[in-house]
């Protein structure tokens, strides 16, 4: 019931890989990792959610904050490899229309 974060920097891209559950307990750690990256001008941040087994609105809230920061600091946010369950939350809330989600490579459950 924890969340593990791994950040790899490749030039102008940062890849943040998440593993585990994103809820109100683990969300602060994700926020503390993701938001400073979003505040780096021009940085492309790719968040890999392939190994996220659970996420709720707390996670959605963080990605909304990240998106807002990306507009402010001219960085880019992209979510990749979402499993069907996680993607469904973005779909229900309509956030899949405002957040850049790579739906071509969708992770399994």
């Amino acid at each position: 019931m924890n969340l593990t974060l791994d950040v790899v920097n490749k030039g102008s891209t940062s890849i943040v890989s998440l593993e585990g559950e994103v809820d109100a307990y683990t969300a602060p750690e994700l926020k503390e990792t993701l938001l400073p990256l979003m505040r780096k001008n021009g940085l492309e941040v790719e968040v890999n959610l392939e190994k996220v087994s659970y996420m709720d609105s707390t996670g959605l809230g963080i990605f909304i904050s990240a998106l807002k920061a990306s507009k402010e600091y001219n960085s880019k946010l992209r979510l990749v490899k979402l499993n069907d369950r996680v993607y469904r939350l973005f779909e229900i809330t309509g956030l899949n229309k405002v957040i850049n989600i790579d739906s071509t490579v969708r992770g399994g459950f």
């Binding site: 019931m1 559950e21 809820d23 109100a24 307990y25 659970y54 709720d56 609105s57 707390t58 959605l60 809230g61 909304i64 069907d84 369950r85 993607y87 469904r88 939350l89 779909e91 229900i92 809330t93 969708r106």
Partner: protein, 158 residues
């Protein structure tokens, strides 16, 4: 009164224990025969309600408890999440609960984000009462697998 089994879980009003409620939810829903998809819906909806309850406690700087009550009926699961420590009586709580639309203070909940919206989307029925703390009552019906051939277990989100 219709027969049901009742399970009550009380945890400190801290986000640390939301995962514990989620595991319990998963076990209860599995026991009742809900599908994997439905169990995932229940996990999100109940976590959202517990998250709201822990947030309320935090805002009031209280070290309270969150009580989650599961009413297991033959055709449905009723889940109550209350942000006060006291135990509650299922029929008593149901007697004072009303449709959420008519209740003014819900505006405060909505500002919290997508939590309540997701609860509504994922559960069959949602009622909220604000008289004694906040109590959320959620219902999800068991859908018997009548036909195996055309059941829609395959996700259509692709």
């Amino acid at each position: 009164m219709e027969p049901f089994d009742f399970i009550e879980i009380k945890v400190p009003a801290k986000s640390d224990y939301i995962g514990v409620i989620r595991l319990s939810t998963s076990g209860i829903a599995n026991r009742m025969g809900f599908s994997i998809e439905e169990i995932e819906d229940l996990k999100v909806a109940i976590s959202e309600a517990v998250t709201n309850a822990t947030t309320h406690a935090y805002e009031r700087q209280e070290e309270g408890e969150v009580t989650v009550g599961f009413g297991l009926y033959h055709d449905r699961l009723e889940v109550m999440v209350a942000d006060h420590g006291g135990s509650f009586d299922l029929s008593k709580v149901k007697a004072v609960i009303g449709p959420y639309e008519s209740t003014e203070p819900i505006e405060n909940l909505r500002e919290g984000g997508f939590g309540l919206f997701l609860i509504e989307a994922l559960m069959d029925k949602v009622e909220i009462n604000n008289d004694y703390g906040v109590i959320v009552l959620m219902t999800k019906y068991l859908h018997e697998n009548e036909v195996g051939l055309d059941d829609n277990q395959i996700s259509t989100t692709q």
